[in-house]
């Protein structure tokens, strides 16, 4: 018997492919956003609201990740935006290879923005790089103010946290102040936007920031 020192990164292969993806995105001049959240926090609604406001300025495409169905993809296509559905079956996150394979189905040329809507899950997607430029998390305030502390890894990984469904605050007893404080403790650098996809409140602030981010790439 003998010891073989390895010091190998377990997710090395994912990181290698993510790096390849990044290269492909750069070659096509694409700005890529990875949207993550728990199921039902409002990722697709955020996409719809974002697409609505950016449609006249940018050419966009979407990759949808879900365990089953192409409902989300259909919602996006109904807006005239090309969308590719990845159904992961039992896999609880998108990884770099799934995104890489999906790129074969896309005409990337001519697009400015690509959104990747990850599988709804507050845990696993955070560990897998996809080659994106920006990680955005959507968190619905009704999930509770303590969640950033309970699921700190994803909150820590992202650059932007969109606190969605603020129109429901009066009915939920959640303190927006406490929630923002918890997000800031877990991720002091996070840019936080309280929004409501239903009423449109706060969306313009996010759009303004996002446009700025794209032009500064």
């Amino acid at each position: 018997m003998h010891i073989v020192d390895m010091n190998s990164q377990i997710l090395h292969e994912n990181e290698r492919i993510a790096h390849e993806n990044k290269h492909v995105f750069e070659k096509h001049g694409l700005f890529v956003t990875n949207l993550m959240s728990a199921p039902g926090a409002g990722k697709t609604s955020v996409l719809e609201e974002t697409i609505k406001r950016l449609k006249s300025q940018y050419k966009m495409a979407v990759i949808e990740g879900d365990l089953q169905t192409s409902i989300d993809s259909e919602r996006i296509e109904a807006m005239g935006i090309p969308s590719h559905q990845i159904t992961t079956g039992t896999v609880c996150h998108l990884d770099a290879r799934m995104v890489h394979n999906a790129l074969h189905d896309f005409k990337l040329d001519g697009n400015d923005l690509l959104f990747i809507e990850n599988v709804g899950n507050l845990v696993c997607p955070a560990d897998f790089e996809l080659g994106e430029d920006l990680k955005v998390m959507v968190f619905s305030v009704v999930e509770g103010a303590e969640k950033p502390k309970k699921y700190p890894v994803m909150f820590h990984e992202v650059e932007v946290v969109l606190l969605n469904k603020i129109d429901l605050i009066p009915y939920s007893g959640v303190s927006l102040e406490e929630l923002e404080k918890n997000v800031k403790e877990v991720n002091p650098k996070a840019v936080i936007f309280p929004i409501s996809c239903r009423t449109g409140e706060g969306i313009e602030n996010w759009i303004e920031w996002f446009k700025n981010k794209i032009s500064n790439k």
Binding site: M1, V4, M6, N7, D127, K149, E185, V186, P188
Partner: protein
């Protein structure tokens, strides 16, 4: 929840390494996993037991060393160890704490025949 996929990654990596070393069975695998990842030790151990069947690691012992979260404030030059609550704001200067340890996800070594 994604521990099965991670266990499969581990098997692929260590089988490749064992073959490159012209080795037979893998007797032991030693991992280093940070606690500020989404990997649960018990779930990964269970997943490894399942996926190791019919691989070179079929009879391998599986050891996981968990690494506590360690953060650092560059402003104050202070290191903080294993916090109960995830808080990345320095209690002294309110600056940002960087993670120094706790994000590891690696195979340290294998023991082969």
């Amino acid at each position: 929840m994604h521990e099965v996929g991670i266990a499969q990654n581990i098997i692929e990596i260590i089988e490749k390494e064992a073959r490159q070393n012209n080795s037979g069975d893998i007797k032991k695998v030693k991992l280093i996993i940070g606690e500020f990842t989404n990997v649960v030790k018990e779930a990964l151990e269970f997943a490894f037991e399942v996926v190791k069947k019919n691989s070179l690691a079929e009879n391998a012992e599986f050891e996981i060393e968990m690494v506590k979260l360690k953060t650092y404030c560059a402003e104050c030059d202070i290191t903080f160890n294993g916090k109960e609550e995830a808080n990345f704001i320095c209690p002294h200067c309110s600056g940002f704490l960087e993670i120094v340890e706790g994000k590891e996800m690696k195979i340290e070594y294998i023991d082969v025949e």
